[in-house]
Amino acid sequence: MKLEARILLLLGLFFGLMVAVYWPWSHETGGSIMIFAGMLLGFLPGSYYWWWSRRMAPRPEDRDDGSLEEGAGVIGSFPGSSIFPFTLGMGAFCSVLAMVFGIWMLIPGVGLIFWALTGATAESRRSGEH
Amino acid sequence: MTKVSSVDSTPQPPKGAKSRVRLSRRVRGFLALPVAALILSGCTVPSFGAYESNTETGRSTYHLWQGFSIAAAIIGGLTLLLILWAVVRYRRKSVDAIPKQTQYHLPLEWFYTIVPILIVFGLFAATVVVENKVTAEPKPAVTVDVQAVQWGWSFSYPGTNALITGQTTQAPMFEIPAGENVHFVLNSTDVVHGFYLRDFNFSRLAIPGIANQWTFNAINTGEFFGQCTELCGLYHSIMYFRVKVVTPSEFKAWVAKFNTPEGARAAEAAALASKQQLSSIIPTRPTTNHGVN
């Protein structure tokens, strides 16, 4: 986890240096804000991972000598199949088409999204995996 | 022909102007050597397909092009040779031969990291020298206000009555004096257009709300073709213009013509004179069936 954190922090640092050069030189707000946001996108998750990595023992995948036996057991639960990504996608599809073909398409759009969100939540509660 | 509304003559200075890098005198002296050598030997260095250009700054650009091309030819040639050598030399000899599993060679890796960095800074230094010339704003003898609209151009000269306007294949022709600094202020009232003079190795965008400015100095007299290079809608393909470079005295006389209505009419007619020529090669064709404002 340390290395993951370091990569993000280094990227953030690089963008920080970049905006420190770019802003005083150009006084261009738009680009400076965007690079600054890039810096935050490196620093925020980076420092979270850093904070975490100092509080945990290196995982088997962080260690050169990590062996397969250490990984035995549950990796995580993976959903087998679910219709809700599809319904959510189609809901988004209809909603976007509503921007063009008329607001009425929001009815199926929002309907499908609502169905997908409630359905997926319920599915996760039931832990709809195999 | 529609008249284009006249140009707003209070342009803001371009922000690009303050973006110049000053190189110390010593660095400049150091750089001047190869650049000068290149310029002196200009006739022996191949053109690499580019035009020499009809402006001083365009010629600097051309020499920069030559310099970059030499660098690219050397680097690209060497790299290609290495690739081809590897491909020819290391084709597999037998199906189950396993070569030595070399993975690192640090000195070599450092070599091909450092050397490109040096090359890049060399190219950058040459770029800065030429860029400062191209973006320099020496005191102009003449200012031209260029206004781009869908799909034509108008050229006016602040402080005078001269005004040339024309659309698409009328290819309006404006005039500038040779050997004098001509300052351009480029504007657009509708969408983004591109002002491109291929024989001058130069282009700039015409953007609503921004006065894009530069100065150049044409060398030879003659007529040169230009056209819009930034997609601007339906007739972008044929948004032509021309520039006629004349002697300074001819230029003065031309500008003076606009002081009388008859003279102005004559000059404008002359500016669109080749209209027949151009439009004869452009067939009348169905232009649109849909999707156009």
């Binding site: 397969l68 | 650009t61 920069l64 396993i98 070569p99 070399t102 291929r198 290079t229 849909h290």
Partner: protein, 563 residues
Amino acid sequence: MTDVLEHAAAEGHSHDEHGHDEHHGPSGLLKWLTTTDHKIIGMSYTITSVIMLVVGGAFAELIRIQLMSPNGTLVNYAQYNELFTMHGSVMIYLFAGPFAFGALANFVVPIQIGAPDMAFPRLNALSYWLYLSGSITMLLGFFTAGGAANFGWVGYAPLSNAANSPGAGADLWIGALLLTGFSAIFTGVNLVATIFYLRAPGMTLFRMPIFTWNLLVTGILILLAFPVLTAGLIMLFADRHFGTHIYEVAGGGVPVLWQNIFWFWGHPEVYILALPFFGMTTEIISVFSKKPVFGYKGMVFATLTIAALSLGVWAHHLFTTGTVLLPFFSIMSLLIAVPTGIKMFNWIGTMWQGEIWFSTAMLMALGFVITFLIGGLTGIYLASPPLDFFAHDTYFVVAHFHSVVMALVFAGLGGLYYWGPKMTGYLLDERIGKSQFWLTFIGAQLLTFPMYILGLKGMPRRMANYPHDPQWKFMNDLSSVGAFLIGIGTLLFVVNIVYSWKRYPAGDNPWDAGTLEWFTSSPPPHHNFYRLPQIRSERPTWDYNHPDKKALAHGHAAPEGNH
């Protein structure tokens, strides 16, 4: 499409050597609609994006036919604007991007790190459905009264505002980009989370195959870049329909803001497209030279450097606006050549003293390397503002980026020849493959070289005709011949798929490759592995098969252990 997928999935079961697939989900169409399996999603992505390549390619052929005469009459001005807009948009948004980070990446990355699936399988499925509906949305433009979007794939404001582009096609284009944009963001989240959290024990970051490394960095870049585009599009839509004036001078807005926002996404996007293809090439060259990736750590460093620099170069697309800090963007852009050069030399170093097997996949990778060399070198010119003033918006630029994107197409085809057998269980025919390679390779060079010359002669891009300069015809004709060769090559690819259908069983590891996906069956079982080898380098399968052939540093006789 459903049928094909169904087959592929069904094969997955029948050819499962271990024979006991414990997964009993729905079957048929419902299976495709409800799947969350990264392999099936990767397959769907692959098929959809290759179809988009063919669609975009068909538009390109029409463009090239139009340009074979100075007064081309195949289409009129309005249709021509639609054609290149949709060619560029389909190719970039619907082919290159999704193929790069959705297709092979989706299939291969989890397997390469020994994971059973992506970290968020349902989100992964959602990515695909958004991508598919985005693709349909964009193409729907052709069926509206006003035609498809026609303001170029970059949609510069104010040409893309309501007054200048009133049609529904423009809104569909925006909608499509919103859908595919969210799809990309979700994929980015998924890639980063998968690589951070689901690696097998011993698979440290510096033991990940370069392909996976590049997708990690691609994922991060997606998260940095795509939200900017999405925000920009929402503002564009607001300008068009809700009366805001963000990009309009009239209400105090700034048209170049769009250019800044677009390219702040657009340049990182170039690397979002390119990095996965770099990764494919790296894997292929290493495997078919029978050597580890030369300069592995340098390769990782180069990838990270490219990503970092790519956020600071957007305004090299704005040099001619006269509004940007020329030296800053010039040096940043030139510097990207350094890590790219490192990669180039690492590829050569990997081949050096190898035992190169010229399979179709390897030929395609070599096609990538050579074509990309040309595209990379001509890109350096454009990083120099004075040279950009001279070449901007001419065919020189079109030639430059087609050298690059055709190189990416080679890498992608190489990836399909290389990983296709893993995905389907069957090899593609090598003879047809090699003919396809040579046609496409010669075609690609013949397509781009005349374009460079045309650019230098002053032919601007996006020209429906060029009556004022009929002597450009010759070069345009050559370029069109190149395009037709590429077209025939692509047809051969389809022929190859049909011809090789279930013809040559691949086995687990037809190429003697080294990464984990070659340890499992072809296609892999549900959740990918029944067993894993011990992971002690970035080539665990190689170490398992050739325990005495570990990677070495130069001058070291003994194995270095871990590096």
